[in-house]
């Protein structure tokens, strides 16, 4: 007789990207300098930091590194005396670079494989924000073949094509209960791809102060036919059918960086990078489900990001022929406006501190290590969409190491 519609049962899962997903770990030397270095032709990581500087590298080289990252986030619900923390999970941002060109020629080829965006947060299945998110594992791996050309003895330009392979696994609890009282759960999992480019110019002035202008384009990553798995009581299966899929789009933002390198002495160089991250492209996040039901509609969630920015200052000191020491400080302004902070990326303005060291065992073999620390400011927020109301505080720790072979 009477139909009870399940139409207002649930708002569908959400997914957000933040500054928190921008991973600033793309080269051990630069990491040791807080991520500055676009205006330095330091090493093969210039493929990422400034393709224009690649042609100024003296040697051919190949390197690989990893920065196990611990994202320690805590949440205290407004009105509560309990602080909840994410589980300790290690995300593995990595980087691989190769640079090759005929000696004393004006051009070099480069290849970079790196992880400029990613996130790994696991709040557990029963925390107070579980209906907004339980866990997110997001990885964007950029593949970037690059050509760099010295157009004069003091100016280099370079550009690379970027292919992104993205992986996402997002989970949250659903506020429907099984007969034993436990909540439903949804897992959205998929892979996607996108394309973009990375281009830069490197200028070495007569005073040997260097300048860089680098633009990394937006990479609109499309996820098609991701799997949407709803773990709900059997009686709700018609509303949340098995075998459902979804499409979504993730606009990974463009970044424009201005860099300056200042040689303080024969052995010491200062690097400063100012970056402008055009997050404003991230207006909304839409999920398009293959199968819609009265309880499961496609969703469009407002994100309304503004542009973010960061300022990084690093120093590289060649203590001896074999030893180098590095340190850096930085500050980043969040793109996430008030009311839009989420547990996926509990973002706020942040301080960056870093240190690093390098050692050349031989003229061909080099090892570099770094330690990267971010202090994301405490932020009390009530999310407009989910009503999640509380204070987030995050610390990020990432030690790293890389091996380089040069010839």
């Amino acid at each position: 007789m009477k139909k009870i519609l399940l139409s207002v049962l649930l708002s569908a899962p959400l997914w957000v990207l933040g500054q928190g997903f921008q991973v600033n770990l793309q080269g051990q030397k630069q990491i040791g300098m807080a991520g500055a270095g676009s205006a330095l032709a330091l090493d093969e990581a210039s493929v990422f930091f400034n393709p224009g500087a690649v042609s100024f590298l003296e040697k051919n080289s190949i390197s690989a590194g990893v920065n196990p990252l611990l994202f320690k986030s805590a949440f205290q619900r407004t009105g509560s005396n309990v602080t909840e923390e994410v589980k300790n999970k290690i995300a593995p941002p990595f980087e691989f670079y190769a640079v090759w060109g005929p000696k004393s020629n004006k051009w070099k080829l480069g290849l970079g494989v790196y992880t400029p965006f990613g996130g790994l947060v696991d709040w557990g299945d029963n925390w107070s924000g579980k209906y907004a998110l339980t866990s997110l594992n997001l990885k964007a791996i950029y593949f970037q073949p690059t050509l760099s050309v010295k157009i004069t003895d003091r100016i280099g330009i370079g550009a690379g094509f970027v292919y992104n392979h993205g992986d996402v696994n997002l989970q949250r609890a659903l506020p429907v209960n099984f007969p034993d009282g436990h909540s439903g759960h949804v897992t959205l999992e998929g892979t996607g791809s996108g394309y973009g480019w990375n281009a830069g110019i490197y200028i070495n002035t007569l005073s040997n102060i260097t300048f860089a202008v680098v633009h990394k384009s937006k990479v609109n990553t499309k996820l098609n036919d991701g799997t949407a798995t709803f773990d709900v009581p059997q009686s709700l299966k018609t509303s949340f059918p098995d075998g459902n899929t979804f499409n979504a789009e993730l606009p990974l933002p463009s970044t424009t960086t201005l860099g300056i390198g200042v040689p303080l002495s024969q052995s010491t160089t200062l690097a400063f990078d100012a970056s402008w991250v055009q997050w404003r492209v991230y207006k909304e996040l839409a999920f398009d489900y293959a199968i819609n039901t009265s309880a499961l509609a496609d969703t469009k969630s407002a994100r309304n990001y503004r542009d973010g920015s960061s300022f990084k200052l690093g120093i590289n000191h060649q203590a001896s022929d074999k030893f180098a020491l590095r340190a850096g400080v930085g500050y980043a302004f969040t793109p996430v406006q008030n009311g839009y902070v989420t547990p996926e990326a509990p973002d706020a303005d942040r301080y960056i501190l870093s240190a690093g060291a390098g050692y050349s065992f031989t003229s061909k073999f080099e090892v570099n290590a770094s330690f990267f620390f971010e202090d994301v400011k405490s932020r009390k927020q009530k999310n407009i969409e989910t009503g999640l109301d509380g204070t987030f505080k995050t610390l990020v720790y990432a030690p790293g190491i890389s091996l380089t072979y040069k010839w």
Binding site: L6, A74, P175, A319, A369, G387
Partner: protein, 434 residues
Amino acid sequence: MVGESHMKKYILNSFLAAVVLFAASCKPEIDTVVGNSAGQANFSKYIAVGNSLTSGFADGGLYLEGQKVAYPNLIAAQMTTVGGGSFTSPFFTDAQANGSGYLTLSALVNGSPTLIPVTNNLAVRDASGRLTKYTGEVQNLGIPGMRVDLAFAAPFGAANPYLERLLTDTQVGTVSYFQFIQGRSHTFFSLWLGNNDALGYATNGGVTTDATNVLTDKSTFALLYSNLVNALTAGGQKGVVATIPDVTSIPYFNTVTVAALLNAAKAINPAAAAIYIQTGAGAVRTATAEDLIRLPFQSAGLFGVPNASGLPYGLHPLNPIANNWVLDKDEIIKVKDYVISYNSTIKSLADSKGLAIADTYSYLNQVKTGLVIQGVGINSAFITGGAFSLDGVHLTPRGNAVIANVFIDAINGKYGSNIPTVDITQYRGVKFPN
């Protein structure tokens, strides 16, 4: 080079020291600002006075799971961080955990619920339906069916099985609820009573047949409510009183709508043009969206059934839906007016005594339009809304958690205490069958 190896060591050591230092301070800290002050209140002995909502009644019955998550029990648990003591409730035993029996959702057929009663492990002690006695200290004094007027009627202790079970044999029929709640040396109280003084009338379709469905006279309500407040504050105790929700804010009156009935009728007979009701004034007329039909009508098996003359029930002026199934437009106006009057009594008495006011009237009106709290959408839709249990009147555990926070916010606001609020995500809505 000596210097170099020395330096190497130095650098390595500093690096290691830095790592250790970071690891030690690894944990992000957030200052805790609540859970450390009772303010001007004393929560060492809290008692909760009220009706079914206070007792934890849900899904059409009183049973152990519901008792454990009754809003006063949730509040009491939160009070322990600010000097709250133990809180005792007349829990049914595990062996009789299903108490009075209750409804479960056994299936959703094309979105329509099938509700079946739980009849095992009951705490029924005799054929007349009386419940297993509970002896011992009780601080959750909620009695399903209790009203402000009947709180002063000693015979009600014999008629109401929930009060009867808490009274000694000699008290039954001689001790009123008003007497029963006194002498408990409480330091703090909550009082959420009066719902049934309006709801009893409304859920009987605006028809008065006995003392449980009469609409309590406004001035009688004011007098008796002030007696209750005076008794509870006799020792200068502080407390919180709650307003009475608008009866039309609950799923009981918003699920079986006139439009839904008409659609169902049209599906069978496209010529069906109107639903006919008998009003409280005795008239028969076409029903409109302003008339509310009681939830149990959907399973009453009456609608559309032809009478002896072959006229389908509710679809013909000569066989209208009976008065007791419908809270018609005029009855709604009447009951709303009484609720507003009761609430103005409650608020002015609370103000005169300096008590906190949990304005559940306003809050449940917000729930009716829908709220999103900690990622959970809550509204007053039947079954799917998450706040109301399967009887369409009483709260789910999630609803209790939400209401507990309305009380806690009111208490903290009035007395400068900072009782931590309840994490509502730890409490369920309706259980869906597998």
